[in-house]
Amino acid sequence: MSSIKETQKNSSQGKALWRSLDEFADTDEFRALVEKEFPNHAPELFHSTSRRHFLKVMGASVALAGGLAGCRWPQQQILPHTSRPEGRDPGAPVSYASCWEQQEVAEGVLVTSYDGRPIRVDGNGDHPSHRGSTTAQMQASVLGMYDPGRSSQPSHVTADGHASAEWLGAISALRKAGRSGKVAVLAAPSSSMALSAMRNRLLREVADSSWHEWAPLHRDSERLGTAQLFGRPMRPVADLSAAQVLVCLDADPLMNHPASLQHSSDWAALRTSADDDEPILSRVWSVESTLSVTGGVADVRIPARTADIPRIAAQLAAATGVQLPADVAAAVASAPPSTDDRIEQMAADLKSHQGSCLLMAGDRQPAEVHALVHAMNVALGAVGKTLSYAEVAHGERPAHIDDLQRLADRIGQGEVETLLLIGVNPVYDAPAIGKSWKDLIGQVPLSMHLGLYDDETAGVCQWHLNQTHFLEEWGDGRSWDGTVTLRQPLIAPLYSGRSALEVISAVVDDEAKSGHDIVRGVLQPLAPKDFESSWKKWLHDGFVAGTANTVASAPDVTGGWGPALESAMQTVSGKEIVFLPDHSLFDGRYANNGWLQELPDPITKVAWDNCALISPVLGSELGVKNGDLIDLSVAGANLSMPAFLLPGQNRDSIGVALGYGRLISDRAAGRLSRKPSLYQIADGVGFDTYTLRDADAVRAGYASVSVSRGEGNYPLATTQDHNPVRPEDFMGDLEFNEEQRKIGEFVRVVDTGFNPDASEVKAQVEEAGPHHPDLESPWTEHKYRGQRWAMSIDLNVCTGCSSCVVACQSENNIAVVGKDELAYGREMHWIRIDRYFRGDDVENPEVVHQPLTCNQCENAPCEQVCPVAATVHNEEGLNDMVYNRCIGTRYCSNNCPYKVRRFNYFNNTKNPSATEQMGYNPDVTVRARGVMEKCTYCVQRINRSKIKAHNEKRDLVDGDVMPACAQSCPTHAITFGDLADPKSQVSLTQKSHRAYKMLAELNVKPRTSFLAKLRNPAPREEG
């Protein structure tokens, strides 16, 4: 702790950039490293099991027959269709519109399919509530579908142990239950009209039936809060592109929000507008306990306890002139002066931006806070400008936790004969209601589980039915603004699974209907005239135009304040624990997805684990450093998990991500074919934090916790700061190291106001760069005559969401290597998002993200050193990597100043399951062992577009070529194109006054430029 103060003192002048706390605070880590000769790796011969685990799991091996000239390789067959479908060309990609759903909100997607094999998910650009970008999870869903760990068949556990099961048996069981009544359904909430129709049928047609919904991460408080304020539930549809001042109270609209994609591109619009002729730069305020993605890009961030935010909200409300009930007002007045002098500043900002400001509350906050927030939005004239409202489908339903209570009661009273669990996993993620859900389900005479995985809940049910993946089924959903979005299957169910619709139909219909018919039936009324033609159009577009159910006029405030408002303000002091959705696994449903497991967390850069995020201050109080185990105890439940000292974490708050510590078995496979279940990669990864989350915690959004130092240490795998060097230990203050490390040159940040001055910014950006003489080559350099592909990355709008990382992984068949190899520094991601902290305040630093991938240097240092010319330049300035020529000297990687080359240390793509092979992108070679690889600017896409254009006897135009990363980026931070075309977007961005090149002084002439980050901090009076 003392040393933290000290370093602050040392680097008080100017803002220092640093990578991780290990560098910043004076832990013993470094000294230990210096003393220990070979730290943390006891020499081991056999690489760890989990890695070999992975060899089996990921990828197909392709023999690079380059050198074996002559030998006849295995005979291959050509199996043509017997009759080829209309307009289907073998080997040509086709895209279909469909939809992906999470948190009962549908996102329109565009799925690319080769020969009937879906291989990529992109955003549906035509969709009204969508900008064509994608989240990491949406793209990873392809791998999810091909996941060999999915349950492959129904299984029925009878009293006398296991017995095989077929769908036929399951169907008849379902129908029987439907006839005899007393059916209770516990389903994941969904926006599907077809599903709610089936739900109504079931409630109507099955005697004594009940329908319950459960999702561990839901948005109840928003619904209830708006209901309190407006008299009926509403869904706020924000337009961040108009919000010059955005205040997020524990909200993460850019990452953990159903409309995050829309929010992201809107928010980005108000950052890039800083380059316009009348520059405007928005200001984002964030009040939160744990550093979120939005908090990371916030201009002003206030680390507050989740429990304190209601009071802050009330204070803000009072300051912005919202009429509060007397007692609350009194409470606010009497409340201790706010922790941070910035509340007033925030209020001032809001008032000075009437109509162009917006407040948002997070779903962890109680309904009262949402009521306050919307009261403020109304008072500040946000409604109609930056905010509109949409109707909520059957919003009258109770809160999820109460719904669980209802179900538990019914089970207790024996009113449930058959419990049908659809796409839910209560045994894992639901808090005990009196009894644990294992026992509750055990009480029910007949329990049937429909799910993608043979998971924790399936394990305690008599029946497990394998559900279809969303890419395999018919369905529908409503996007955030209510637009009806269609879902069509891209492939016949791999494991003959059935969708929720079909299963419910099996309950209520004698002849189970197909999903296709159900959906058509339900959507028929939406068709204006003849159904078939509009159905065709809907399928093509992926949505039904004009079905957004926005509320026409601003709702009037009925002013019903929740009774709990005052109590919400009476916060208990002490340490709190906050349960966060995981940035990769969300609530745990994606735990078996290798891409997402290996995706580093945007903030912590930890992969393959969740850890307890604690403040550095708390860390030094407890005397723990990263990876040390700490004991958490909440209302009797205990959990020991590794600590991660996260700068910016509130010192009284502990953040834990949900969704880890899964136990997915493969009973069916294990029983029927004795196949060792090695595909359940989620098993035993991370820590199950649901065990700490009881019903009260679900209601309050936090829980008070007692924390103590635990026994021992747990290795965490990060893709950054593997082993921090801490030169300050011997080289004095931080700035000196800063200078040594050039981080300040890599990521250039300029602090400005609402209207940044271009020339000023330009000056500062240049000033941040190194001073070097004019660069000349001793020889006449090559002149590029044709297209000159280039990329520019705008640090100003990069949120670090990591969507590009997964986009690249799925487009380029990048292998997953597993935790151990990752910890060894052998990650394969072609894009690395470097996260830097900025500023002197460990408790509240700024965050800068820098996506780093091959810069395609014109004077590429890697090329010259390759003895076999496996990496050479092409006429368009691309740094071609020829896998089949590579012999693996790794010299190129050594000589790459950006360290963006990746080497296959083992055969990462070995013995893939048949399904995994189907998931590969056929346009990209699957790399074998001993071969170097790296970003190619998606050269396969460049070539495809070029061939297409030339076949059509035309030249390429700007936008014809779009690399996967640029296509997926929610904020469009990445622009790609041809520098030879002066009007191309990339030429413009590279000419921007914010543009600079990384390590340009080496005269490597990178083709990738970065655009400096602009920040709009609130001026702080010193004192």
């Binding site: 011969l45 200078e739 830097y836 003895p867 950006y898 360290k899």
Partner: protein, 498 residues
């Protein structure tokens, strides 16, 4: 058995074990202005020298030899286990990662190439400088060179990710119509090390031809007769043969001299031509060459000090020889130390951030321990040779030679690993630590080296007899001259006296 073995290996001469007559340690290091000191001590003439050297080959191998050979051979076995394992599983069985793409393999490669420099240097350069004292040690040193280069050559082959395509580094016609990239230092390496091995081998073999003829003419067993007969190509010691032979040997020496300097310069290009801070240094070629000679001489000492005891060659490989080598070790040690200091000076003087950081980090960063091992072994240890007592003490010089070997290995480790571990992009920094395979293959290389050396001692002339005979002749002449001078002076005195 073990005790006997140890006894046999112990430097105390055991004639019944070594099969050689007692050869006393004579201090011939004293400098006397009037008479030149004898390089070959004791009552030795052509006959005794011939018998001494040939007997090593002709007599039954001693237990000492067997012990040494078996030990070395079993260590060599490690290669047999771990190299196939490596080829089968992949380079990941090593500790290399991003960003440290080069680990032990390259460290060992550079280390062994360095070792391989003393031999040719002693034979060639000292030959050109007419340094007579080379003759007693050059044969063993050259042999060591060959074996060291064999060890070195092994590593580039196995360190690549796809060893079975390593031949793509040679300019061979192929169906791809592709050629290697001659701008790459690795290709320069292929040519440099290849040439160096070939030339050293020729040089070594050519030097042996007359001695092989001696063995041929003394051989009793028919297999030996045929073997040595074939190897000596029908040498009759005719002066017309000697004439061409001498000239050819001289030319080879003249060629080997620039070669020996070029090889380690080229090896240093692997680093110097890159742009990794800590590698990208113009001082590297001379720095590497000096280091190579340094380590080479150390290894020669490590081998010869026990060998001269075991084979009773103290009067052929005399203290004088050892002392001269120690002087060279001290000199090159200082050169290396100078290079170390210069790196820091240039980093400071050049004022490049990353450069500065690279070297500060080297000395004080996470690999400081390696750096200081290097400095203490390479720069400090040899300083003890300032004292003649130490310089001429068998035990001290042996210890120092071991230290230098260790230190030079670490020099390569420091250069290779620390520079890569923390280069430009700080976010990619990582710590390199070896796995079991790294260590085992490193040991295996030593096994290979010592096995080959043991076989050499056993089957080939350990000392360049024909050259030593020449030295003996000169000694005889100078002794005669000296005595003549004395007698004439004496006569003059008596004359004047009367």
């Amino acid at each position: 058995m073990i005790k006997r073995l140890l006894a046999a290996l112990s430097p105390v001469v055991r004639p019944e074990l070594t099969g050689n007559a007692e050869s006393p340690e004579v201090d011939n290091t004293a400098y006397s202005p009037d008479s030149r000191v004898d390089l070959i001590t004791g009552a030795n003439d052509n006959t005794t020298i011939t018998d001494k050297v040939c007997s090593i080959v002709e007599q039954k191998p001693t237990i000492g030899w067997w012990g040494f050979f078996l030990l070395a051979f079993s260590v060599l076995g490690l290669l047999g286990i771990f190299v196939p394992f490596l080829i089968f599983w992949g380079v990941g069985t090593w500790g290399v990662n991003n960003p440290v793409g080069w680990g032990y393999a390259i460290v060992n490669f550079v280390f062994w190439v360095g070792i391989g420099h003393a031999g040719t240097l002693i034979s060639a350069i000292l030959f050109l400088f007419r340094q007579k004292w080379r003759t007693s040690i050059n044969r063993a040193a050259e042999a060591m060179t060959i074996f060291a280069v064999i060890c070195a050559g092994m590593f580039p082959g196995i360190h690549v990710g796809r060893a079975w395509f390593a031949y793509w580094m040679f300019p061979l016609p192929n169906q791809m119509e592709l050629w290697p990239n001659f701008r790459s230092p690795l290709i320069w390496d292929v040519f440099a090390v290849g040439t160096y091995f070939t030339v050293s081998l020729l040089f070594w073999y050519m030097g042996m031809i007359p001695d092989l003829a001696t063995l041929r003419d003394r051989a009793k067993h028919s297999v030996r007769k045929i073997a040595y007969g074939a190897l000596s190509l029908g040498w009759t010691g005719s002066n017309r043969q000697w004439h061409v032979y001498e000239r050819s040997y001289l030319l080879l020496a003249a060629l080997a001299t620039p070669l020996v300097l070029s090889v380690h310069s080229v090896v240093s290009f692997d680093f110097a031509v890159s742009q990794v801070p800590g590698w990208h240094t113009t001082i590297f070629p001379p720095y590497f060459v000096a280091g190579a000679i340094f380590s080479g001489f150390a290894m020669v000492l490590t081998l010869l000090v026990p060998a001269r005891q075991l084979f009773g060659l103290k009067d052929v490989i005399t203290l004088k020889h050892l002392e001269n080598m120690n002087k060279i070790i001290m000199l090159t040690g200082l050169l290396v130390g100078y290079a170390y200091s210069q790196e820091f000076f240039m980093a400071w003087y050049g004022g490049v951030k990353v450069e500065k950081f690279a070297f500060i980090n080297r000395a004080f960063g996470q690999y400081a321990w390696a750096y200081w091992i290097m400095v203490s072994c390479n720069v400090l240890a040899p300083q003890i040779f300032w004292f003649k007592k130490m310089r001429t003490n068998i035990w001290v010089m042996f210890a120092v030679s071991i230290f230098v070997n260790i230190g030079m290995w670490f020099e390569r480790f420091v250069i290779t690993v620390t520079s890569l571990a923390n280069d430009y992009t700080s976010s990619a920094w990582d710590y390199y630590s070896p796995k079991l395979a790294d260590v085992m293959i490193m040991l295996g290389a030593f096994g290979l080296f010592f096995t080959l050396f043991a076989l050499f001692c056993r089957f080939l002339p350990f000392i360049a007899m024909s050259e030593v005979r020449g030295v003996l002749a000169d000694q005889a002449h100078s002794r005669a001259a000296a005595s003549a001078r004395h007698s004439s002076e004496a006569a003059a005195d008596s004359a004047s006296g009367s």
